[in-house]
Each structure stands twice: as structure tokens, then as C-alpha cells.
């Protein structure tokens, strides 16, 4: 016998335990019309779902990065068990704070629905204990609220949209591979104004900055050959927004890529796999995991060329619950054809996505 993990990591969830499951997860299909605020809420029938807020602060200090993510996972187990506690739906949350000149601080929570965790299927409202991400109306405006606390840092932010949400892919149907079933529903909400309070080291400070909200749900994202992905979500200095992702195979070659650019006027431009090319400029080796991350990337989007540069190198996350996962996710600055600031996510570098 060997010690088994109860669950795989949230990032690796899609391929976990596929063989045993008898439960029928709905497929992600094109042509479904997303309606809001309903589709800001949870879609518990699907296998996985996440609500992802990343952002950069300029007050109390320039280039503070923060991140709060809630993952929902339908386990496929105990589906018929007559108990409100049945572990059919499990939620994980990760929160991180990047302070320039410091290293990344990170904390996490996990719980099952009805036992510490909860989510709404009608609107954005997901919580684990006192950590919570929800949408509410403030007068005529809709806002997102964000709250978490931990021993090393806590925050309570209000995110005020300045633009409408951005439906990725084909009206929210976002393909993740050549096969049509490899896809997700994906809604981004860039350019959210951040204000609220940040508590760290016993100091309570007012903040100002800009954030990016992603909400994505799916049943299958990673194809068989994929070992990880690179993802980039940037609020551009000129009022626009840029999202790029690619899925990599074991050799580091791109399996599938996609990018979307919305400029300040709302005009959108999409790039498909053939138009996108990633070139590592500088790698950083983590002293903890030994993984080598291409932190400075040159990304060619057809005629556009942009380059990433991290605020600090060490924004590697080592999560322990529910199982150890190592990846890099941090605040970067974008320069070149487009300029701005946002989050870069690099997964599958420490451990190939071995299962």
C-alpha cells in the first residue's frame, strides 16, 4: 500500500479519476447563450469551475500583486448518498499576495459544500468559511466583493467594473484543444477598479488598483498530451485588455493556443493557434522546487510582439492542500506592442502534469 492523496490538485482536477466515474458530466458545447447574473453563479453539474481574481495595486505601494481563487470540483462520488454532508462538491481557495522586494505570500483553504463551503447557482457567491467572493449591487452599479483573512495577510476589496464582461472564445465557448470536447465556458471581466483594505503585518491600509476576474467552468480541458499551460491576463495601460493562453506538451511545444485583445473602445481581435508563438527570453530556477520557469517571455501575436517581465522572480506557489502542487503565478509587466500589467500563470514546469 502507499499513501494516496484524497484528491488531485485543483489544477489537475480534470483528468483525475476519470476511469471510476459513473456520473455523467454535461459536455461543454458551442452555441449556449450565457446569461448574467445567472452564469456568474456556479454550474455544479460540470466537473470543474473556478472564479479567479488577479490584480495589481498602486496604493499603499506600487506593484503589489494579489490573487484570490475559488475552485469548485464535482467529485462524482456519493452522488446518491442521502446526506447533506455528502462530498459531492468540494471547494478550494487560494489567496496570494506579491510584495515587491519580498517574496510571495500564499495561503489556502479547502472544504466541502454544506460543511464550511458554499456556493450559489444563481449568482456569483462562493465562500469557504469567512473567505468569500460575491457580486452585489451598489446602487445602480454592480460590484464584486472579495474577502479573505489569514495569519500573514488579509484583505477586503471592492471591485468596480469599468467595462462589461468579456466572453472568451465564441461567446464564452472557449476551446482548449483540437478535439471539440476539450473546451470550457469562459468569462473574463478585465479592468475592475480595486479599493478597500489590506491588512498585513498588523497594519491596515487603504488600497487602490486594478483587477481582472475570470470565471470558467468545464468538464474536460486538458487533452491527453498536455502537461501544463501558460496563461496571461493583462490590463493594458491604454484601457484595453489582453488574454493569451497556450497548452504545452511534454517537449514544451504548443498543443493549442488562443488570444483575445479588446481595446479601449471595445473593439476585439482574436488570434488562433497558428498566429501565436511563445519564445522564452529568460528563465528563473526555483531554489525550492528546482523548476525552471520562463518568466520573461516574448509572445508573438501575428504582427504584435509583447514581452513579460515579473515584478519579482519568486512568485512560485507551493500548495499543500489538498495535495502538493507547484506552479508559478505572479504579477508581470507587459511591454512591446502592447503595454500593461497583469498576471502570468505557468503550470506544469515543476512536475510535469503526471498522474
Amino acid at each position: 500500500m502507499r499513501r494516496r492523496d484524497f484528491l488531485a490538485t485543483p489544477l489537475l482536477l480534470p483528468t483525475l479519476l476519470a476511469a471510476e466515474e459513473s456520473v455523467a458530466y454535461p459536455p461543454v458545447t458551442p452555441g449556449r447563450r450565457l446569461r448574467f447574473p445567472r452564469d456568474h453563479g456556479a454550474h455544479p453539474d460540470f466537473r470543474t469551475e473556478w472564479w479567479y481574481v488577479t490584480g495589481a495595486l498602486d496604493a499603499p505601494q506600487a506593484d503589489i500583486g494579489f490573487q484570490l481563487t475559488f475552485f469548485r470540483r464535482r467529485t462524482g462520488f456519493a452522488e446518491t448518498l442521502r446526506s447533506p454532508l455528502a462530498a459531492r462538491q468540494i471547494l478550494f481557495a487560494h489567496a496570494a499576495l506579491t510584495l515587491p522586494g519580498d517574496r510571495l505570500r500564499h495561503t489556502e483553504r479547502v472544504a466541502r459544500a454544506n460543511l464550511g463551503a458554499s456556493f450559489s447557482s444563481t449568482d456569483c457567491d462562493v465562500a469557504i468559511g469567512a473567505w468569500r467572493l460575491w457580486r452585489e449591487m451598489r446602487g445602480p452599479r454592480e460590484i464584486l466583493r472579495l474577502r479573505m483573512q489569514s495569519a500573514s495577510f488579509s484583505y477586503d476589496f471592492t471591485l468596480t467594473p469599468s467595462q462589461p464582461p468579456m466572453l472568451q472564445g465564441d461567446d464564452g465557448y472557449s476551446r482548449k484543444g483540437a478535439a471539440p470536447e476539450l473546451a470550457s465556458y469562459y468569462v473574463s471581466w478585465p479592468r475592475l477598479r480595486v479599493d478597500g483594505l489590506l491588512l498585513r503585518d498588523g497594519r491596515r491600509q487603504a488600497v487602490a488598483g486594478q483587477a481582472w476576474f475570470d470565471h470558467e467552468w468545464s468538464t474536460a480541458i486538458l487533452g491527453d498530451r498536455a502537461v501544463g499551460w501558460d496563461w496571461l491576463g493583462i490590463n493594458l495601460t491604454d484601457g484595453g485588455a489582453l488574454m493569451v493562453f497556450r497548452l504545452r506538451d511534454a517537449q514544451g511545444a504548443t498543443l493549442y493556443a488562443h488570444a483575445a485583445w479588446r481595446d479601449a473602445t471595445g473593439r476585439r481581435r482574436r488570434f488562433d493557434s497558428a498566429e501565436i508563438r511563445f519564445t522564452p527570453l529568460r528563465r528563473w530556477a526555483s531554489p525550492r522546487s528546482g523548476a525552471s520557469y520562463p518568466l520573461e517571455l516574448e509572445i508573438h501575436l501575428a504582427d504584435l510582439t509583447v514581452r513579460t517581465r515579473p515584478v519579482i522572480d519568486d512568485q512560485e506557489l507551493v500548495t499543500s492542500r489538498p495535495a502538493p502542487v507547484v506552479y508559478w503565478e505572479g504579477l508581470v509587466k507587459l511591454s512591446g506592442g502592447l503595454e500593461g500589467r497583469g498576471y502570468l500563470e505557468l503550470t506544469g514546469y515543476a512536475d510535469t502534469l503526471r498522474l
Binding site: R3, R4, F77, L81, L115, G116, A130, A151
Partner: protein, 838 residues
């Protein structure tokens, strides 16, 4: 100078082997007992809290139903989870299930692995990767290694768990590798446990860990105000207090016994050193003349005391460790008290307590040496050099009224002390009263001696007897020392015999009352199987009458051990048919008001009086009940409440019997047991006849007092040694006088007889006073210490044959000891003594 001290100590050990080694042994015994009790208790507590910790972790707060049948609603768990001050909430369902092949019910813990991982890592299950990839929340149970061994089961086997009429058939999905070899429990996902065994929409308890910047006490206070009345908020400290409270009184009593042994050890050192000083007064005087300073003469005697005490205490530590080892093997970690049942106990001797006990032993020997050292310091050198030891003459009180008044004042003090209440749960005033009684006994000795021998002096007696009488009457210090040892040891022994005897008689009678039925059926803490109950309800059974009883626990005070709730099928109008009441019964003013009958300990601990109403945390709420009476209970030290099954059902409770009292039809006893046997075998139920239970109960009683009996014997022996040593000392002290008598024509036999008679007279006085003190102390133990420490009362019952037999035996031993001392007297080199060179 140190060399000289060392030479003298060595000489002392060489020439007085018996006396010094006896003193050393006495000190060793005291230290050994105290240390053994400490070791065993520390180990048992550590075991207990280790077991608690692996199951419970170290939460900042525990939210739990006050009633063991109660539960924490999910809404409450959710609300607490959302509190920003809460880092995590760990819900748990802790229940007992039966498992085919397991002789006793097993503890099944329903866990949420997500929250429990950090707080209770030891309960984390390990899954068999070859059998399945399904995680714990897909179902299945996980067994501790001890359970796997016991069931002789393999991972992957199918098992059926049963509780009352509910059952769950599932797979043995893995083990619990972090649990110790004695921990017997099952773990499963909380949802599966809840779905099969309840509670519905609730969990058994919620353990809370707070964020580091939260003040736990303030948070608990705030939450406690908002919690529904049926729920209880407990702090982790409460748990420790409960655990420690559990055996506190028992432990303190045993420690007092150890202290008695130590005190007798100190007394023996006193006797030894006094003799040593007396015997060597000429030597010490010589050293003084040669220039040994007075301070060093004082120190030398103290040093010699330490030279007895330190090796004695070291020996005691080793002995104590061995004793603890033996006791934990034989009686388990609770010294026979029956409080913990954690299997084998590991002793962990820590250096600090060991040093403490070492110091205690040294201190006792030092205390014993203080007065002899003082006497030695005060000897007039020139006189001692020529004439030997001189007792410091005491001013005799002119009127006997003064000491009589003094004794009366002490008696009043003892009486007053015995009326004081317990101090933080301990009968300290009672112990003080016992100490005062002993002081009275010792102080009365010379007074009584003079009085009795004054009366005897008028009688026409032969010379031998007359001399013996005179000696006893005239040498008050030595007589007092010799008698004092006997008084103390015999009084303590007699009092213990009286207390234990009273208790045993009371328990014996009580067992008659609480076991009315001829046959009992017991299922350990799980409801009896439904089909058995259904079968018993049929008319063709060999039983004339069946009464059910269910046990649960209630928390009235989170810092005290739980109170037992007994739900019983009995007649609300005639509870006295089943319960041994201590006083009159009260009838509730209102027919609809539920009635409870409380046990004596409950009344003593919580100060509840019969006839009053009471709010009990029953069935998840707070229920007003009427206290109908107080019944005697010697088995549940922390209190019990009995409620009728009908009242319990009326309150909305579900009565599921754990135990049955069975009355077979006349002449069908054998048939009854045969009828029950298949059920008992199948479900691991216990069937016992009343006689068996009685026998077992009394055996447990005797076992739990085993330590006491051993100590009594030790105290008696020490007292006798003390007598022998002091008598021998007396002979040395009066060597010159005896020699003169010899020179005047007393032959050795006459001298020997005089000394023997003297010892017998002292022993008689000591035993008389000791007996009187023993009865008084026995009464204090029975009527003050027992109710205060254990919260139960019993009538005083003096087992005269035992007490008088012990007295006779002691007297015989004392005479033998005097005889030995007398032989020493006859061996005195009379001519040398008279010539003044010793």
C-alpha cells in the same frame, strides 16, 4: 572537617546497621509510594490526553450537545465557519457501532478529511491503492491497526456496522497508520456515518480552531451567549481540568497515604538519631572539648540524618519505579480506581519530579534529625563527658488542668475543622482535623502515662514491676517518642480499617438494593438489537418481567466530568422499588412535570436539593424537571440522574435500552440463560447473574483498596520498628542507672523483665490512645473526607474483631520488640558503664 564528618557517619553506619537501614527503608518506602503514585498517574494522564489528542486534536473550542444524545445542527456549524475569527471548523460524528467479530462495540468517528487533516492528523486514513482508487468520501471504513488485528480482517473485506436498528454494509477501505497499537477505532467519511447512523442535519460536535490574532476566551464568551441552550461550548483547558478532576480525589488520598509513610520514615529517623545522639553523647562531648564547634555538632547530626535520607530516597525512587511498573502491569494505569481504560501504560520518569521526591525524602530525614541535633547541640560538654546523655529536664506543670485544657482546645479545633467544607474539591480541612487528632493523641500520651502509673504506684508490687512503672512515668521524652510512633501508626491503620470496612459494608448493602433482578443483560454503550427486544416482547419467553435501562451522559459543568443520565423503566409513583433513596421522596406539584431522581454525588457536587425544580440539558434543549429524591450511588463518583422512560418519551426522547434487568419465571433460570445465549453470542452482549455482578463489584472494590492495605501493613511495621529502636535507645540512656541496679543485686533476668514490662506498658498506652484516635480519625474519614472527596456518604461501621485483632497483634509484636531491647540491656558491660568509660 569533612573528613571527620565522613568518618563519624561511616562509624555510625557500621555500628548501627539495623537501625540505620530500617530508617533508610522507611524513608525509601515513603518516597517509593509517593513516586509510584506520581509516575502511574502522570503516565495514565499522559496516555489519556494522548488518546484524547489523537481523536480530538487541540482545538480552541469544542461545540457539543450537553446531552450525549444531542447534536450540533449544521446551521450552527455553517454560521461558526463563516465567522472571520474562525480558521477552521472540524465537524465530527463520534458514535459506537457493533461489528461482527468484535467482542465489544467499536468507536466509529465520522470525519471530514478536509478540515480534520491539520487538527487530527493521526486519524487520517490510508487507502489501499490496489483495492480501489475511490477516496474516503466515496464510502468505506478505515480501521486502526488494533481493530484490524482483532477482527483478523483484511483491507477490502466487506463489513457490516450496526447500531440499534440501523446498519451499514461497506468495505474495509484502508487503515489508520498513525494510531497507536492500543487505539481501537474506525474512521469513515462524516457524510456516510451521518447517512447511516445520524444525527440528521447535524453533526456530533464541532471543533474550532481560531485565527492566531483572536482572543479565544473572548470569542468563546461571545459565542456562548448566542448558542442555543442545548449546546455547550468547551475550551481545551476544560478538557484537561475534566481529565485531572476525574482521579483527583483518589490520587490525593493515595498521596496522603504516601505522606503518612514518609512521616513515619521521618519519625524513625528521629528515633534513630535521638538514640544515636544519646549513645554517643560522650563522644560528641569529647569532640566538643577537643574543639568541634557547637554549630558543627548540630550539623553532624543533621548530616547523619541526610546520610540516611538521601540513599533512602534514592532507593525509594528505584523502588517507586519498580512499584509503578508492577502496578501498571497488574492493575492498569488507574491504580485500581477504574477511571482510565487506556490499555498498557508507559511510564516516563521525568527528572524534575524525581528530584522533587528525592528532596522530599531528604527533607523528611532532615526533619527527623532536627530535634536530636538540637539536643546534641545543647549538651553541657563537661557533664556529658563524664556522665553521658542528659535529657533536658522539663518544667512539670504544677496543675494537670493546663494540659487538659490544651487537649480540650485541640479537640475543639479538630471538631471545628471536621465541619469545614471542602477546599477546591479537596477535603483539606478534614486532613487537618486528622493531623490535629494525632497531635492530641501524642500530647495526651505523657499525661495519660503519669495518670495511669500514678494510680498504679499505690499498688503493692514486686521490685521489678515497680521499677518498670517508675521508669515509664519518669522518662516522659522517651516514653512519648516510643508511644508516639505506635499511636500514629496504629491510629492511621485502625482508621483506614474502619473507613474501608464501613465503605465495604455500605457497598455490600447498596448492591442488594441496586440489583433487584436475578439476571442482567448488558450491551456496552450501544442500543440493544431490535430483534432481541421484539423477541422479548413475545409472551412465550421464559421471563416474567423485563425492564430496560439506557445510559447517556450530560454536561452540567464543562470543567467537571460528565454526569450519567440513566433512563429507566420504572414506576414514577414508586421509584423506591428500584432506587435506594437516602431520604424522603418529594412528589411533583404538577402531573406533567418530568421527575428525576439524582444520585448523592450529584447533590453534593452541584448542591441540588430534592423538591426543587432543575433545568437539565436534555434532548438538545433545556428541560425543566422536578427533583424527586436523592439515591445512594457508589459507582458513579461524578453524579447521575435517573429519569423514567415514560417521562423521557414524553419529552420527545427515543428510549433505546442498553441494559436489561430480567426476572425469569420461577424455576426457569437455566432456560432463561439458554434463551439469551444466542443473542449474547451474536452481538457480544454480556449476560450476568446478580451474584456474579456482586462478586465482581466487591472484587473491584478490594482491588482498588489493595494499595491501602499494603500501606497499612507498612505503617504498622514502621511503628513497631520505631518502638523497638526507641526502647533500645532508652536502655542505652539509662545504662548507668541499670548498671547501678545490677550492682545493687538485680540479676540480668530481672533487668530484662523490667525493660520488657516497660515496653509492654508503653505499647499498651500507645495502643489505647491509638485506638481512640483511630476511631476518631475513622469517623472523620468516613463522615468528612469521603463525602468531600468522593461525594458519597455511608454509616460508620467499626469492624471490632479486625481492629482489636490488629491491636493484639501489635501488642504481641511490641512485647517481642521490648524483649529484644531488654536483651540489649542485659548485655551492657555493667562494670565499664559504672566506671564511666563507654
Amino acid at each position: 572537617m569533612n573528613t571527620l564528618a565522613w568518618w563519624l557517619i561511616r562509624a555510625q553506619f557500621r555500628t548501627r546497621r539495623v537501625a540505620t537501614s530500617l530508617s533508610m527503608l522507611a524513608i525509601a518506602l515513603g518516597v517509593a509510594l509517593g513516586y509510584a503514585i506520581h509516575l502511574i498517574n502522570a503516565a495514565a494522564l499522559a496516555d489519556f490526553s494522548r488518546a484524547m489528542n489523537s481523536v480530538q486534536g487541540e482545538p480552541d473550542a469544542v461545540i457539543v450537545g450537553r446531552d450525549s444524545a444531542g447534536s450540533v445542527p449544521l446551521t450552527v456549524v455553517e454560521a461558526i465557519a463563516r465567522d472571520p475569527a474562525v480558521q477552521s471548523v472540524v465537524p465530527v460524528i463520534d458514535t459506537r457501532v457493533r461489528l461482527a467479530g468484535a467482542p465489544a462495540p467499536l468507536r466509529l468517528i465520522g470525519l471530514d478529511v478536509f478540515s480534520a487533516a491539520t487538527m487530527m492528523p493521526k486519524l487520517m486514513p490510508r487507502q489501499d491503492a490496489t483495492a480501489t482508487d475511490a477516496p474516503i468520501f466515496a464510502g468505506g471504513v478505515f480501521a486502526s491497526p488494533a481493530v484490524l488485528r482483532q477482527l483478523n480482517a483484511a483491507i477490502g473485506d466487506t463489513v457490516t456496522l450496526q447500531r440499534g436498528d440501523r446498519q451499514w454494509t461497506t468495505r474495509l477501505a484502508g487503515d489508520l497508520p498513525a494510531l497507536g497499537p492500543d487505539e481501537r477505532l474506525l474512521v469513515a467519511d462524516i457524510a456516510w456515518v451521518q447517512a447511516h447512523f445520524g444525527p440528521d442535519d447535524a453533526v456530533g460536535e464541532a471543533r474550532v480552531r481560531l485565527t492566531p490574532d483572536t482572543d479565544p476566551a473572548a470569542w468563546r464568551d461571545e459565542l456562548a451567549r448566542r448558542l442555543p441552550p442545548g449546546l455547550l461550548l468547551r475550551a481545551a483547558d476544560d478538557e484537561n481540568a475534566r481529565v485531572s478532576n476525574l482521579s483527583l480525589a483518589y490520587r490525593v488520598n493515595l498521596n496522603v497515604l504516601a505522606l503518612v509513610a514518609l512521616l513515619t520514615g521521618a519519625f524513625l529517623v528521629f528515633a534513630t538519631q535521638l538514640t544515636a545522639v544519646a549513645q554517643r553523647s560522650t563522644q560528641f562531648a569529647l569532640l566538643g572539648v577537643l574543639g568541634l564547634s557547637p554549630r558543627r555538632r548540630l550539623l553532624q547530626v543533621l548530616l547523619e540524618g541526610l546520610a540516611i535520607g538521601v540513599p533512602g530516597a534514592l532507593l525509594g525512587l528505584a523502588l517507586g519505579y519498580a512499584l509503578a511498573l508492577a502496578f501498571t502491569r497488574l492493575l492498569g494505569g488507574d491504580l485500581g480506581g477504574g477511571f482510565f481504560s487506556t490499555g498498557t501504560t508507559t511510564l516516563v520518569p521525568a527528572p524534575l519530579p524525581a528530584l522533587g521526591f528525592l528532596a522530599l525524602g531528604a527533607l523528611a530525614s532532615l526533619a527527623g534529625a532536627v530535634y536530636p541535633a538540637y539536643l546534641n547541640r545543647r549538651q553541657a560538654l563537661a557533664h556529658a563527658l563524664h556522665a553521658g546523655f542528659a535529657q533536658t529536664p522539663r518544667a512539670r506543670p504544677a496543675r494537670p488542668l493546663v494540659p487538659a485544657l490544651r487537649l480540650l482546645a485541640l479537640a475543639l479545633l479538630a471538631g471545628g475543622l471536621s465541619r469545614l467544607p471542602a477546599w477546591s474539591g479537596l477535603p483539606l480541612a478534614g486532613y487537618a482535623a486528622i493531623a490535629v487528632l494525632l497531635v492530641i493523641g501524642i500530647a495526651a500520651a505523657p499525661w495519660l502515662t503519669r495518670w495511669i502509673f500514678g494510680l498504679c504506684a499505690g499498688l503493692p508490687l514486686p521490685a521489678t514491676q515497680r521499677i518498670a512503672l517508675q521508669n515509664v512515668a519518669q522518662a516522659p521524652l522517651m516514653a512519648q517518642v516510643a508511644a508516639g510512633g505506635l499511636i500514629v501508626s496504629f491510629a492511621l491503620t485502625a482508621s483506614m480499617v474502619i473507613m474501608v470496612g464501613s465503605f465495604r459494608v455500605a457497598v455490600d448493602r447498596w448492591l442488594d438494593d441496586v440489583l433487584p433482578a436475578p439476571l442482567y443483560l448488558r450491551s456496552k454503550a450501544t442500543p440493544l438489537p431490535e430483534d432481541l427486544l421484539a423477541a422479548l416482547a413475545r409472551p412465550d419467553t421464559p421471563f416474567a418481567r423485563v425492564e430496560g435501562m439506557a445510559h447517556a451522559t450530560l454536561t452540567l459543568d464543562p470543567r467537571r466530568p460528565n454526569v450519567t443520565l440513566i433512563v429507566r423503566e420504572l414506576d414514577r409513583l414508586d421509584p423506591a422499588a428500584r432506587l435506594p433513596f437516602t431520604g424522603p421522596l418529594s412528589v411533583p406539584p404538577d402531573e406533567t412535570l418530568p421527575v428525576v431522581w439524582i444520585s448523592e454525588p450529584l447533590r453534593e457536587i452541584y448542591g441540588i436539593a430534592p423538591g426543587q425544580t432543575l433545568r437539565l440539558p436534555l434532548l438538545g434543549g433545556s428541560v425543566e424537571v422536578f427533583v424527586g429524591g436523592v439515591w445512594r450511588d457508589y459507582s458513579r463518583q461524578f453524579g447521575a440522574v435517573t429519569i423514567g422512560a415514560d417521562d423521557y418519551r414524553r419529552l420527545g426522547g427515543r428510549f433505546q435500552a442498553n441494559d436489561l434487568a430480567l426476572w425469569p419465571r420461577p424455576g426457569q433460570n437455566a432456560a432463561a440463560e439458554t434463551w439469551l445465549a444466542p443473542y449474547a453470542r451474536r452481538d457480544g452482549l454480556e449476560v450476568a447473574e446478580t451474584a456474579e455482578i456482586r462478586q465482581l463489584s466487591l472484587a473491584i472494590f478490594d482491588k482498588s483498596f489493595a494499595v491501602t492495605y499494603a500501606l497499612e501493613a507498612a505503617a504498622m511495621l514502621i511503628g513497631l520498628f520505631g518502638l523497638a529502636v526507641t526502647l533500645a535507645a532508652g536502655v542505652w540512656l539509662r545504662a548507668r542507672e541499670l548498671a547501678t541496679l545490677g550492682a545493687l543485686g538485680f540479676n540480668r533476668r530481672m533487668l530484662g523483665r523490667a525493660v520488657t514490662l516497660e515496653g509492654a506498658l508503653i505499647a499498651i498506652i500507645g495502643l489505647l490512645i491509638g485506638l481512640a484516635c483511630g476511631v476518631a480519625i475513622g469517623a472523620v474519614l468516613t463522615h468528612v473526607v469521603n463525602p468531600q472527596a468522593f461525594h458519597w456518604r455511608m454509616p460508620l461501621h467499626i469492624p471490632w474483631p479486625t481492629v482489636l485483632g490488629a491491636a493484639a497483634l501489635t501488642l504481641a509484636a511490641a512485647i517481642a520488640a521490648s524483649h529484644a531491647a531488654a536483651r540489649q540491656a542485659t548485655r551492657l558491660p555493667l562494670a565499664q558503664v559504672l566506671a564511666g568509660s563507654q
